[in-house]
Amino acid sequence: MRELRIHGRGGQGSVTAAELIAVAAFEGGVFAQAFPAFGVERRGAPVQAFVRFDNIKIRKRSQVYEPDYIIVQDSTLIKDVNVFLGVKPGGIVIVNTEKKPDFKIPEGVKLITIDATSIALKALGLPITNTTLMGAFAAATGEIQFAALENALKHRFKGELATRNIAAAKTAFDVVKGAA
């Protein structure tokens, strides 16, 4: 079983990202489970969402404490929340930042930074980075195929909004693939 933990702030679409990643993984034949860290979500407050991937039925229901993958939607969270806590050796951490990393990640963990805010602003006109980071996640981990991600986005969003979100995800996918 592989596990993903997404850190974001209320309003950035962390829960939606978790759901759509699970939908895309399911399309790829994987048993996926997505759920939020249930809280009193208000805009700007730190939130978490989780995804599990396995080839067999997932029974476990606790939150994710030792993730294989971490997505950090907002690098300002790093000083307030121990977002890298429990990440497994060999794990992958994706952080949205336009700066060079000024934080430490645990040893043996791969760090990918991406300026998802600029990509999202360009594609959507809004600094909502969830779909951009889903593209980065697909490229970095191979847990989901881009085509499946595209289908999940088309199913969730309508018309122009779907097109723009797919464009944002594709840009990030290509950036991460190019860097790999």
Binding site: F26, Q33, I58
Partner: protein
Amino acid sequence: MLEITEGSHAVAEAVRLCRPQVVSAYPITPQTHIVEALADFVANGKLDAEYINVENEFSALSACVGASAAGSRTYSATTSQGLALMFEVCFNAAGMRLPIVMSIANRALGAPLSIWNDMQDSISLRDAGWLQFYAEDNQEATDLHYIAYRVSEDQKVLLPSFVCFDGFILSHTYEPVDMLTQEDVDKYLPPFNPPERLDASDPVSFGMYATPEYYLEFRYEHDKALKDAREVIAKAGKEFAALFGRDYSAMVEGYKLDDAETVIVAMGSICGTVKDAIDEMRTEGKKVGLLRIRVFRPFPSEDVAKFIKGATQAKRIAVLDKNISLGAKGATALEVKDALYGSTVPVWNYILGLGGRDVRKKDIKEIVALADKGQGDQFFGLRKEVL
């Protein structure tokens, strides 16, 4: 067809396929997504039902009582404080023998206010005379609605049912669920046809006054019908299994009990985590098994006794309760002790996961270690620093 969807949406879809004719509910976290989806179905013509908007939960269930007495298949959903507000109507619905089905997205009760999961809400209504089903996953949370209507509406039963699933932990989780089709459900669930109904041309009364010469007999018959539901559940479960392959005929489920020295007893979504913990403990040579209770009312006392007797190596039983009958024990522990009266195997109770406290595999392992040492009947996971 297997699809990935949110638990609440899967439940709403299952309810739609049951063709309720009247839906009345009041939104409350974490049940909200279910009733939003049903309201959409009715507004968009996907469900031919009367959706009655009401000002609170007391009215929601009252509307269902009237509609059910008039011969309609009715549905409601609630949780926590909403269910508490329905307290009086719950007893009336059951006493009038109205087979309403109500989903409970289990949540803690205030005070202090908590929107998070435990089972105190439905467990506190265990004496209301409803059937109570508890789901481990979202597949079961959907399927138990078909079963609940079949059993509730059976002429031998004619009692309402709670279909309980853990709020947030199941209601807000996306996972694959095999959804039945309308054709499937129509094969399994015939239209509601009660023996008595409100009819202006042939007047009858429901829930009338019972003097001391009659009340005791009413209660006896109510209790008997609830107990007789055991056979009806077995039959309805077998027929469901024959059609769709998933078997809910047993009110309890045993997991690796045959040679288990420690038997965990639990209900609901926590059982998935318990099963994973058991598999890990067994690789470490610890013989642990699980007895999962799927139906809490009527309580499957005989099944519990039979399964524990079958676990011939059992040296101790650890009952996990996401509820507490304050001043006594967890409700499941009380029932299990009653079912095992005369047995010499010690039964230890652990109160855990209240108000949304996360329960992990390592917690289950710690509980097994405590039971091995004969330490039980306690709240598990207390943060001593805040006491």
